[in-house]
């Protein structure tokens, strides 16, 4: 019996010839990551355990992105704890201030994760890196502390579900719509404890940005990790950035899958997830008339340059509707700089947008765009739980950047094609 990509990466890092779903292995970690919401707890646990030195100062990445620029004294204290620890341990990859971006966009962009890696991060959206053909999963701060001490961690080898993507996505349909449709189909615990492996001819039509978005949200279906078999698109991306040699794993033809799901992406419309679950999905044509108070374009799901380009294409020469607050947050300094060079920031400013520094803030109701009771936001983010972006009586709708741009202009949730009748200024 062959193995899946996920099994192969876990076996290789556990020093075993083969592993099977359900067994618990102890595996070597290539890259470990913590942010300002989770690293301070890990550092406290590390010290409490009497540990002195991190397992490898070059393989621990610390990013201040959640409550930065520091929203209050406590947030500033947390970043100081990380900064002091980074100095003490001589950790070169400590990101704050003008170097910091949203970790899950920053790490791949900086080449810190390559194909074949085993990555853990004390953040649930660490699964994003699976887009590169890596095994990546979110853990808690205590797990991160254990890795900081030993360079290893325990894993239950997950069963893999193969997701075969057929066809070719139509206009305005992106990775966001593929993953929202999948979560809508299988539910928020439809892949609990499992790996989701994305294959099929449609994958060739998905950009790296699309794949990051898909892998980012597998946790919204409960999955442990999501993985895309590396192809030319992956190789090009990794070789342009990575400073380590990638390993390109493929699943064996006789690998064992817990389930096989098929989805024809050519039939997909842009999707909208209604409050308060990411699985509460409808095609944008069937949402009815929903007035929106705030549109947020950004996050580890959709704050990449490709996302900003899509939004800018629709917003160019147009304005956000009166009463709509439009917030755009480039995910990293590199995305910000590219958006500036391409003239996208001017498009957003002309449209009446607030341009935010790179931060996770608005997505998790941390700061920089909080909702009041009764307000509705449409966001390109990944979660629409009760109170996610502010008051427990506010509402969040999730969609792709094109739907977000159209929604900002029309003041209600809208299909991008509805802008055809709205003339540019």
């Amino acid at each position: 019996m062959g193995m899946t990509i996920t099994e192969k990466i876990l076996a290789a890092h556990a020093g075993l010839d083969r592993v099977e779903a359900g067994t618990i292995v102890n595996a070597r970690v290539d890259v470990a990551m913590g942010n300002d919401a989770t690293a301070p707890l890990a550092i406290a646990a590390f010290r409490e355990a009497g540990a002195r030195k991190v397992f490898d100062r070059r393989r621990l990445v610390l990013v201040c992105d959640h409550f930065t620029p520091n929203k209050d004294i406590q947030a500033a204290t947390n970043c100081k704890i990380m900064r002091d620890f980074a100095r003490e341990q001589q950790i070169p990859r400590f990101y704050e201030g003008g170097e910091a971006g949203i970790c899950h966009v920053l790490l791949p962009e900086a080449g810190l994760v390559v194909s074949g890696d085993l990555v853990v991060g004390a953040d649930s959206h660490t699964c994003t890196y699976g887009a590169l053909g890596a095994f990546a999963t979110g853990v808690g701060s205590t797990d991160l502390a254990a890795v900081m001490m030993t360079g290893e961690l325990w894993f239950r080898v997950p069963e893999t579900v193969k997701v075969v993507l057929r066809g070719r996505p139509g206009p305005w349909v992106s990775g966001k719509d593929v993953i929202l449709a999948l979560i809508g189909a299988i539910g928020v615990e439809g892949a609990n404890y499992r790996a989701l492996e994305f294959t099929g001819e449609a994958v060739a039509h998905l950009t790296m940005a699309d794949r990051f978005t898909v892998a980012n949200m597998v946790v919204e279906a409960g999955a442990k990790n999501g993985v895309f078999p590396p192809d030319e698109t992956t190789r090009e991306y990794v070789y342009a950035r990575g400073d380590r040699d990638p390993v390109f794993y493929e699943s064996d033809p006789d690998a064992s899958y817990a389930d096989v799901l098929e989805m024809d992406v050519s039939a997909l419309e842009p999707q909208v997830a209604f409050p308060h679950l990411p699985s509460n999905v409808r095609p944008v044509g069937r949402v009815g008339s929903i007035k929106i108070d705030q549109v947020y374009i950004g996050s580890c799901t959709n704050g990449r340059i490709e996302d900003l380009r899509t939004a800018a294409r629709l917003l160019r020469g147009r304005k956000a509707a009166p009463g709509v607050r439009l917030i755009v947050a480039p995910a990293t300094p590199e995305v910000y700089r590219t958006a500036l060079a391409e003239g996208l920031l001017e498009v957003f400013l002309d449209a009446g947008a607030v341009i935010s520094p790179p931060t996770c803030g608005p997505c998790l109701g941390g700061h920089m765009g909080i909702l009041a009771a009764g307000e509705k936001a449409l966001a390109t983010t990944n979660r629409n739980f009760v109170g996610r972006m502010g008051h427990p009586k506010s509402e969040v709708y999730l969609a792709n950047p094109a739907v977000a741009a159209a929604t900002a202009v029309l003041g209600r949730i809208a299909h991008p094609d509805e802008l055809k009748g709205v003339h540019r200024l």
């Binding site: 989770t38 979110g138 808690g140 998790l364 739980f385």
Partner: protein, 165 residues
């Protein structure tokens, strides 16, 4: 290990944003987090919960973020254990890593009412409801490795005691 306590019931999809909203995450102080535990699910919960109480949840308890502030807040509020129809994986890991006992039982939810006292007998794999002698519910056994983690008091003591090395 027998855990006896009063039941608080919550439904399906109690995610980590409900257990402890992100607006409080810049703090790691257990007392502060406990004062806001479950706030967006039941704003009165934190003031009414007592040490030794048990939370009984529905499907996918603890879904969402990896924040350990969630199990920290529950433990600091005095929650003795959580019994749910199912748990999201990161919360499941975090609970064992931190020594918070959690149990999977698909059947308990529909048999208990809020305020009932239950007895979780992990070794025997059952839950008793003394006020309903007929109702005895099976609880999924904790996998051996996870039992070792709990016995050590969590992952870090497990590692530093050298049990796992």
């Amino acid at each position: 290990m027998i855990i006896k306590g009063r039941v608080w019931k919550f439904g399906d999809n109690i995610n980590t944003d409900l257990i402890i909203p992100a607006r409080y995450l810049s703090s790691t102080d257990p007392g502060f987090l406990a004062a806001h535990v479950m706030e967006d699910a039941d704003p009165t919960f934190a003031s009414r919960v007592a040490p030794g109480d048990i939370i009984v949840g529905g499907k996918d308890f603890g879904s969402g973020s990896s924040r350990e502030h969630a199990p920290i807040a529950l433990r600091a509020a005095g929650i003795a254990c959580v019994v749910a129809k199912g748990f999201a994986r990161i919360f499941y890991r975090n609970a064992f890593n931190m020594g918070l006992p959690i149990f999977v039982s698909p059947d308990l939810f529909d048999l208990v009412e809020e305020g009932d006292v239950i007895e979780v007998d992990a070794a025997a794999g059952r839950i008793l409801i003394p006020s309903k002698p007929a109702a005895e519910v099976a609880v999924a056994p904790i996998p051996p490795f996870m039992r070792d983690l709990l016995a050590a008091g969590g992952l870090i003591p497990y590692l530093t005691k050298g049990v796992g090395r």
